[in-house]
Amino acid sequence: MRILVVEDDKSNAEYVREGLIESGHNVDISSDGMDGLYMATEQKYDALIIDRMLPKLDGLALIQALRSSGNKTPVLVLSSLAKVEERVKGLRSGGDDYLVKPFAFSELLARIETLTRRGGNVAQSEQGQLQVGNLVMNLLSHTVTRDGKNIPLQNREFKLLEFLMRHADQVVTRTMLLEGVWDFYFNPQTNLIDAQVSKLRQKIDKGFDKSLIHTIRGAGYKVSANGP
């Protein structure tokens, strides 16, 4: 993928660039808002990573300018403003996701990949149904079957699995689970997410020779029929 990073902090930008290149992406860097807008308009990118506070042109203004010109490239907003209202502001301006500094690189990567594959890999075989391999979730009857065998799940486990299946073949981080499943915009300081996933994995994968829920070291989890 071709990614543009608009960030004025040089070492941060370099760190993001190196990480993305290691993951096999092409990266351009711009250090101010005007330049960033010019590059994003002139060239074709698969995703944009834009810092909120930029010299010359504010990050949100950049996104608004881009969106009003019809550009629909996915945008990940980076910000040191952690308040939920700021996040809402960022998303209203046309950003697709919002990541608060400091962040783990794996978090940024997972979110960028989710953004660029949005809608592409959703495991929705029929209406009201999600499917990954032989795992089928019926959203209407609230039931989960694997290989036709019914798997009883607690409500919390169902919610978790639904989110993972909607992001099938994508790395989902703990923060993404906290925000997406539980609406938690703070770090509860426990390893509860890990405990919840391992409980879920016992129910889904136990007794089957092929695992569907994979742990991605240092990043998060992935539901996939094709291995980690």
Partner: protein, 467 residues
């Protein structure tokens, strides 16, 4: 006498005083002008009345007793007129004067509606008073003229005019003086408030505007300013305390982090140790960031700035979700978590902050309740508030510490080893206050019962959607 609006400003006082004086003078001018014209009119009609009576009398004398008697009557009239204000002249057919206190029939006069007006130049050229007169012609051609000098009324008019002018001048002086006094009083009282404000701007927050005890608008203003100052002092102190605490409490984890980094530098040949230290270091940094976020959220809630982002949301759903999130944690510790959450209870407030507050209460309860204990979570709606209750049967907190535990970074001695930022209850307390509620801590016999009480705000932006 003067009506002042509530808000007074320095220049407004002057404008109002001037405006008031102008209104006052205009009304005095209007009243006196009316009085003046009414009096003049009345004087004129009295003169006409007197002239008419004498004419009528002369006519009846002539008719009953003839010309000679009329002459006598006129002489009598002249004699009776002590002040010499009446004018009589009787002329024959040829216009020759028969009798009168005027030489001849006036030659130059204005005539309107039976009344003659002329000047009697012969009397005194400098005064030249107007004479108002009426004439009558008898059957034999004799003519009589009865007039009245307007000298007296003119003088009265002039005096009245002077009185009116003097009154207006006096009124202007009085209102001007009164107004200046008024504005002086108001300026002096405002000056006090301004002096206090200047002191505050200069950095002294320990001042108060003195109250006069009159419970008037100025006292109202003064007490509002005082309340405002108290609030500012509270915020500044909060900010100071927060920055002190940040400095204090972040030094410790930063120090740990530094030692770890040094450890990596000093033991370059132990890859296991390096990995371990780096992992712990990242966790430490995450913890520092979360502590910072919590401090910011508490300050934000305490400052009341979050109230701009209030929304109506389903509190029942939020609580159910938070309970679900912690179920796994409770079951790991073999703690029975019971909940009683009625559906469809909506709250108006800051959703993320309330979510975190409920999470903090449940998290605390699970952390401090020993294995095999029990926790009950409930939601209840009353007329004026909503209560989110988390009760456990753990060791609880001594009643003396109920206020202490709400302070930032305060942690019970025995629980220092447990994980946590020491900010959990401070945040809940600040969030409760932001929603005009409170955090109640009670003895659960045994254990702790924490109640997050949120006021139900009447002015909700929209009615909750039907469930």
């Amino acid at each position: 006498m003067m009506i002042f609006p509530r808000k007074l400003f320095h220049s407004t006082i002057f404008r109002l005083t001037l405006l008031n004086a102008a209104f006052f003078c205009i009304s005095i001018i209007a009243i006196l002008t009316f009085v003046y014209f009414a009096t003049v009119r009345e004087m004129e009609s009295q003169i006409k009345h007197r002239i008419t009576i004498q004419i009528t009398q002369a006519q009846s004398v002539y008719k009953a007793r003839g010309l000679e008697e009329l002459k006598k009557q006129i002489s009598e009239f002249i004699e009776e007129d002590d002040e010499g204000l009446f004018i009589y002249v009787l002329v024959d057919k040829q216009g020759k004067t028969i009798i009168g206190n005027m030489e001849s029939w006036p030659e130059d006069f204005e005539y309107s509606e039976n009344w003659l007006m002329f000047d009697l130049e012969s009397r005194n050229a400098s005064e030249a008073p107007h004479i108002l007169a009426r004439d009558v012609t008898f059957p034999d051609g004799t003519r009589l003229l009865v007039g009245y000098s307007l000298k007296g009324p003119e003088r009265a008019k002039k005096t009245m005019f002077d009185v009116v002018c003097a009154s207006i001048l006096l009124a202007f002086i009085i209102t001007g003086f009164g107004g200046t006094m008024f504005s002086g009083v108001i300026r002096r009282r405002l000056e006090k408030v301004n002096q206090i404000c200047s002191q505050v701007i200069g950095g002294n927050l320990d001042v108060k505007v003195p109250l006069t005890g009159g419970a008037d608008e100025f006292d109202h203003l003064a007490s509002n300013v005082n309340t405002m100052l108290a609030r500012i002092a509270e915020l500044v102190n909060g900010l100071k305390q927060a920055s002190d605490n940040i400095a204090h409490d972040l030094r410790t984890p930063l120090n740990r982090h530094r030692i770890r980094m040094e450890g990596i530098l000093n033991h370059p040949l132990e890859p296991n140790k390096i990995n371990e230290n780096i992992k712990a270091g990242i966790e430490e940094v995450d913890m520092i960031v979360e502590t910072l976020n919590s401090i910011l959220r508490i300050s934000q809630a305490q400052a009341g700035v979050a109230s701009g982002h209030f929304v109506t949301f389903d509190l029942s759903m939020v609580m159910t979700s938070v309970i679900e999130f912690y179920e796994e944690f409770a079951s790991q510790k073999h703690i029975a978590m019971q909940s009683s959450i009625p559906t469809g209870i909506f709250a108006y407030g800051d959703k993320p902050l309330i979510t975190q507050s409920i999470a903090n209460l449940i998290d605390n309860a699970i952390k401090y309740t020993p294995k095999g204990g029990s926790i009950s979570v409930a939601l209840a709606q009353y007329e004026q508030f909503i209560e989110c209750i988390v009760a456990d049967n753990g060791p609880g907190i001594p009643a003396d510490f109920y206020d202490k535990v709400k302070e930032r970074f305060f942690r019970m001695e025995e629980s220092r080893t447990s994980a946590g930022t020491g900010l959990g209850l401070s945040l809940v307390d600040a969030v409760a206050k932001l929603h005009r509620g409170e955090l109640l801590l009670q003895d659960n016999n045994p254990g702790l019962k924490a109640t997050l009480r949120l006021a139900i705000v009447a002015s909700q932006d929209s009615a909750p959607p039907a469930a």
